[in-house]
Amino acid sequence: MNNSQKWIAFSTIVRREIHRFLRIWPQTLVPPIITIVLYFVIFGRLIGSRIGEMSELPYIQFVAPGLIMMSVITNSYSNVVSSFYGSKFQRNIEELLVSPTPNWIILLGYVVGGMSRGLGVGAMVTLLSLYFADFSLHSLPITIGIVLMTSLMFSLAGLINAIFAGSFDDISIIPTFVLTPLIYLGGVFYSTDMLGDFWGSVSLINPILYMVNAFRYGMVGITDINVAWSFIMVGLFSVVLFGVALRLLEKGSRLRS
């Protein structure tokens, strides 16, 4: 395949992925919006007004960046894991496997599809958050940079989950038992200063803490940890996950008998 053909193959996968989540928008776009609005209403308005300030910010301003990041993470991950596993289940992944499309194009196509949904939902949630809280953007490059890298990283993780998955249960285990706890313990709703030295240190092994804090820094200028570390961590994770996902596709693990 020449470069022009590779581009056509890549854009076909991306277009098909975007078309998929738009076609089933009541399942893919509406639930995360409703969930996040409920978070804003309950944690931001109702409970948040009684909490007062967190890290010298009104609670709703503190929690909003975390909620946006939460929607980016869960939607990037779930789009790729469900789409790729669905293709395995229906065996239409074979349409790609018999074609001359290189594995790295297949990987990028699915990942960009996942990022499209993650960032699309993130953008909608950001617009909604403006109704509940006032923001003055602290750093656009940091905000955009960290949200892009986070979306990339979780799309890659979703693909790896889908490759290993042998049933629909397997694609819900990681989001339920790993992703959700990491998000809730990743500094979305509280500052790690509140945890004390020991639990604050334990929190540092949670990669989502770095992403949420870097994003919060980009939006409101407040962070519990070094932002440069956040970029290094997310970058390293993404490179490793990309390598693992590509290797699995090259080997044909769980895809070719």
């Binding site: 395949m1 020449n2 022009s4 053909q5 590779k6 056509i8 193959a9 854009s11 076909t12 996968i13 277009r15 098909r16 078309h19 076609r23 669905g86 293709s87 229906q90 065996r91 239409n92 074979e94 349409e95 790609l96 496997l97 018999v98 074609s99 001359p100 499309t101 290189p102 044909g252 070719r256 008998s257």
Partner: protein, 315 residues
Amino acid sequence: MKQQSEPALAISQLSKTYEGGFQALKSIDLNVAPGDFFALLGPNGAGKSTTIGIICSLVRKTSGSVRVFGHDIDQDFSTAKQFVGVVPQEFNFNQFEKPIDILVNQAGYYGIPSKVAYERAEKYLKQLALWDKRDTPSRTLSGGMKRRLMIARALIHEPRLLVLDEPTAGVDIELRRSMWEFLQEINRQGTTIILTTHYLEEAESLCRNIAIIDHGQIVKNTSIRELLKQLNKETFVLDTREALDSCPEVEGYPLTMVDDHSLEVAIDKSQSVNKLFAALTEQGIHVLSMRNKSNRLEELFFDLVEKNLQENDHE
């Protein structure tokens, strides 16, 4: 050009052992000439689908090589894959997508621009009588339509080698005949076709050359004409005008009674059928019609598979 002088398919010492130790292919060699209409026959589990899976890279081979028009599927996979179109046995498209989208997306995976893809999708959907269903969710199509959709999808990048794994399984007779005509037409236009089938009549009607595979080995690889020449004995069923009380006896012709109006007889190629008719007429029995008990190829197929089974048992 390389691909014009090379076989459409050249398989050399191909072996496949699945995890768990099952040896599906035992060092098979197979050549298919460009433009051929080739049948790959074998009982269930013989290795047909494994062979096809390796050709289209859905199954990883253990050893050996596969070349498509001279291009190795490992070293030159991109070009090799451009030459192959595959119609699998099971439905493997997204049941929620529309036929037009399935075809255009498949074209995209081969790097075909969308304008060309839409033109080809229209051409093949019309040829396979699916154009009216182009915007219908594919899960609502009938079994025959789904099978034709997979043929259209396999042709969208206009491959020079089309591989079909039991394409007419579960398809009614009328549709099967129309699919045969379609396949014969694209073969006449130059596409090499390899097909596996359980319908031996299908292989006899469509194909020029044949390989019979059993227990992961090629037990016969020849032309259908040559194969049929090896048929020494055929079994016929004779329908009689008169009701029969008992089985008539004719020297040299082992007759058996099927029911009171039909007889069965196995006749060597060297024997005359006229003598049998004359002898029966002398006994006051008039034959109204005569037909082969089974498909001629089927008899050979069972002979070869049986022979291979006995050889394997002796090993």
